[in-house]
Symmetry: C2
Subunit: 381 residues, 2 copies
């Protein structure tokens, strides 16, 4: 992974040019923290995590590889110099996220400035490089741009942001492109798919290998402003935001092919729920859909059937219009595993063509990056 978002990339300010003697005199007693490295990815793909906390009585680590079932983690052990550490793995080559808990306080790794922001899901990132991660790495291939775009939302009466991936060649060319609307999960925002989600890099690598059609990927902010009016209201607000603001903005400002055969949608978790909300009543707008790590609970199946009768009860029409309907969930997803299976069974019972993939792992970005990689290859064919 050839970037330099780590502490090792720092050039000390004082050494750039000669600085005043006063600044250079600011010496202090060194601590083990000064030279501490964390995380350290070892040649055998084990990873050592360290944190300097001499007064702490308990330090633990949480990470998405644990939810995924790839490795476990006990408490860190304290050395005499106040440094707590643990070595885990070996890890499958991939990108991972983690945070510490120091005496019960959630603490990012002070030695690792590579972070994944989010509404509530802030955590550190690291990469274990290797062949398994090649599909999502920053490789020497042509790269598209990820653009941070602010627009005035008429439905929410505020400025909102979205991230927009334009493929290599967009800037210098004149071609028009299909558009894939890619939705994040709860606790996240429109940056998630471009940090831990690696969406731009996954598309860059697919395009370099000619495994996907060139496309624009639009990643809106799916987290609505707070409301007491309940989840159905919030899901409706997102649908309005997407259909009345995001899509019109994109189709006005980018070179897109604006018809249903050239629009796709997919989302993970909350974004999967939003996809299930938008899709059935908007088959005139989307020919491709993905629902990842989300489903419909058994207790709300009747309501879902009732709300979406036109979609579910006209299988021949739905099947003709929906070119790809791609569902996936991790086999260890305690949160939505049963709901996802229930949705698969409902669609099967209704005769709605779809793919349902039960993969390894849990409710994690480890899976969602792979789902994007697999799904994007099927679009706009």
């Amino acid at each position: 992974m050839l970037n330099f978002r780590s502490a090792a990339g720092l050039i000390a300010l004082a050494s750039i040019l000669s600085l005043p003697a006063a600044a250079q005199r600011q010496a202090r007693t060194p601590t083990p923290n000064d030279t501490l490295k964390s995380p350290e990815v070892l040649p055998d793909r084990q990873v050592t995590f360290r944190i300097y906390a001499p007064k702490a009585s308990e330090v633990a680590i949480t990470g998405d590889w644990i939810t995924h079932g790839r490795a476990k983690a006990g408490p860190l052990e304290k050395a005499d110099d106040g440094v707590w550490s643990i070595t885990l793995g070996p890890f499958v080559p991939d990108f991972y996220s983690y945070s510490f808990s120091v005496d019960g306080v959630r603490t990012l790794d002070p030695k690792n400035a590579w972070v994944k922001p989010g509404v509530t899901s802030l955590s550190n990132m690291f990469e274990v490089p290797g062949d398994d991660a090649a599909y999502e790495e920053t490789r020497p291939v042509p790269h598209g741009e990820v653009r941070i775009v602010w627009y005035q939302s008429s439905t929410l009466d505020t400025m909102r942001s979205m991230h927009v991936y334009t493929p290599p060649g967009y800037e210098s060319g004149n071609a028009k492109y299909p558009v894939f609307y890619l939705l994040h999960g709860a606790g996240d925002d429109d940056s998630g798919w471009s940090t831990i989600g690696r969406a731009g890099f996954i598309l860059d690598n697919l395009l370099a290998e000619k495994k996907a059609k060139p496309m624009i990927v639009v990643m809106p902010n799916g987290s609505m402003p707070p409301s007491d009016k309940g989840p159905a209201f919030q899901a409706g607000r997102f649908a309005d935001e997407l259909l009345k603001n995001v899509i019109p903005y994109v189709e006005k400002n980018y070179r897109v092919i604006a018809n249903r055969d050239n629009r796709a949608i997919a989302g993970l978790s909350m974004g999967g729920a939003q996809t299930l909300r938008v899709l059935p009543s908007n088959l005139d707008k989307f020919a491709y859909a993905g629902v990842w790590s989300m489903g419909v609970g058994r207790e709300s199946t009747a309501g879902f059937e009732q709300d979406n009768a036109a979609f579910l009860d006209n299988a021949s029409k739905t099947n003709k219009e929906l070119k790809v309907f791609w569902l996936a969930v991790g086999e260890n997803d305690a949160l939505v595993g049963e709901s996802a299976k229930n949705l698969d069974q409902l669609l099967t019972a209704k005769g709605i063509q779809h793919e349902f993939h039960v993969t390894e792992g849990g409710h994690t970005w480890i899976n969602w990056r792979h789902y994007l990689h697999d799904y994007a290859q099927l679009l706009f064919r």
Copy 2:
């Protein structure tokens, strides 16, 4: 500030669609942390910071308003429920950054996911809204795009990223634009000017008020890969990277006016040092320069004079070519204040026309955003 990067924007996953009963059963004992809010900006512009750390014996806060001299901060006080808190201010309306220290361990605010990433300068952000901050706020005006761009660096033999601001109207128009190369400080990366630096928003607001010429702003990554060869080598690498990779990439891929009258450069701290390295031998490429919170130490003045004799000893030529040379430093900048004054004196002694602004405050983004706001108005006139 109308965005929703705070915890308040979260829609609970479980409430989106009906989830399996198993997930809903995952109850646990509530703690004060569950409903804790931090930071809380009060109506009188005081701000309360809180962190749940029942086992800690000492919690402190550091923030850039302290360095700037706007408010002080003692240790937080612990309540019986394990929540530490402190109320500071009132604050001048502005954007601020901070972090906690919990028993000596640097800890981001677990309740505030709005963060400023960086190579080593990770911290939380918050805004105190108000008229003084209007110039940098996300306002309902036309917005440009901030693009994350990856390119192959021939000088560093790796993929590198830069952030590129394109002004409102760039995407839909055909005009060519001048380019401003804007450099960050040590410990930071190319994202800094677009997070805590607010560069895109500052430009958007200036353009909406017709106080600046439409321009592209290129924010490269100034942090070089680690090297044992010393600071002069690293500064030379950055100059190579800028001149041989960044500028050619920009001029190939964007609609720019590629001549000296339409190129500007400026940088803060390390970026100011990089500007001082690049500018004197490249007056054929830049007609505007800014050096912010950086200078030349007295002990290295002779070397600086020797290295830049052609620039310093031909004042009439330099003054004819350099349309704006804009230096600024905070009056409380202990790190580089004396160096900046020394540079001002050297330039004055040599007859090199320049502006030197000694502002309030210290070595902080509070100043750098204002410097950008003031300097950008002078460019390309």
